[in-house]
Symmetry: C2
Subunit: 202 residues, 2 copies
DNA sequence: CGCATAGGACGAACAGTGTTCGTGACGAAC
DNA sequence: GTTCGTCACGAACACTGTTCGTCCTATGCG
């Protein structure tokens, strides 16, 4: 059943995951699903945890912790991007599924291995999760627009908006249009994670 | 009309902002709204920009730029928290309203005043916006649960989840329950912003 | 072997949602 | 006074999540 839900997400996105749609995927009626799952929200939570469960990670190694942390964040982002919209579930409420907890455990372990003190490490786990989820959501919307509209990237639209801004009221923005539209989502995501970890190390 | 929408948001949250509900607030029918606004999405965009427009900020001052940046982020967060759910609009797509752009302009100006090079500053504006929006969404959900359930804070629920975790599979998490549940949302938000800016300064 | 009972499956219905269409009413211009 | 155009809006459409009550099956029991 989770499998059927994931198939729908992969093909048509999270919004297409309605009880009737998933039921049709299983050749049954919508009401039958309520025997196995409490409701749509619970189904979405299960889907999210299943997606998070697809990422594999290694034991924290003090010698390579930063690389490991980076890799884990990227792997998480890629997993969430493969199932468009699922990241929104993580923003709706703090995930507490077993796979999500395993991921948090790994993040925490890596930060501790890096010598970050427990308090800052604990809060950093939260922030990193937020960054991954928020970035995944943004990427998905970009993909959706790319698939529908003519512009392959959202950068063009953003550039147009910036160029039409009055230069007298928005001097800093209009002076740096190139910088503001530079880089793809992956680069920007790595920038966010890397500078945040930089900050963790003072 | 935006005013009516904001009144509904303030009292009942973003989910209560339906076309029929806003129409009733204006003593008219839902169909009449489509004369002034393209659809629900556009209405939500207008609401978001209006909320962002309530925050006031000063000219970037190289001597106090970090304090100014912090204050602006906090002001933004508080504005979004006052209108529960509106922050979700910013996560659904990159805001391009005039007030949002003015805010981005101010952020960019402060970062540039602080000597951050334009490229990193441009990307940082994005990340800070994401952090504010994501944090606002999280706070709202906490407020909603506090208003409905018995637990005044979500911390108790989180603590319960952590304490029921098997210690052998989640050693780092179960060892640091106190750190993971410490601090309120405001503290955690300031931590995120401050360490990110720390990272910007190497 | 026959029957009863429990449990899952599911059609229909309810109360909503965003959006559109066609009708109506009101006011202004000629 | 008549006509025209613009705005207002009730009703309808195609959906949504969820629940209720019925039906059918399949298994355990006598």
């Amino acid at each position: 059943m989770v499998e059927a839900g994931l198939a729908v997400v992969r093909r048509e996105g999270l919004d297409a995951v309605t009880m009737r749609r998933v039921a049709k995927e299983l050749d049954t009626g919508a009401a039958s699903l309520y025997v196995y799952v409490g409701g749509r929200d619970e189904l979405l939570r299960l889907l999210f945890d299943e997606v998070v469960g697809t990422v594999r990670f290694e034991e924290p190694d003090p010698a390579r912790w930063r690389e490991q942390l980076r890799d884990l964040c990227v792997a998480l982002l890629e997993a969430l991007e493969a199932y468009p919209g699922v990241a929104r579930v993580a923003l709706a409420e703090i995930p507490t599924g077993p796979n999500a907890m395993a991921c948090a455990e790994a993040l925490m372990g890596m930060l501790l291995a890096g010598g970050v003190d427990p308090r800052r490490a604990a809060w950093a786990v939260d922030v990193l999760g937020l960054l991954v989820a928020a970035n995944a959501v943004e990427t998905v919307h970009e993909q959706a627009r790319a698939a529908k509209g003519a512009t392959p990237f959202d950068q063009a639209a953003m550039r147009r908006v910036l160029e039409e801004l009055p230069a007298d009221r928005y001097p800093s923005l209009t002076c740096h249009v190139d910088e503001l539209t530079a880089g793809d989502t992956r680069e920007r995501f790595l920038f966010a994670v890397d500078t945040f970890v930089d900050g963790l190390l003072r």
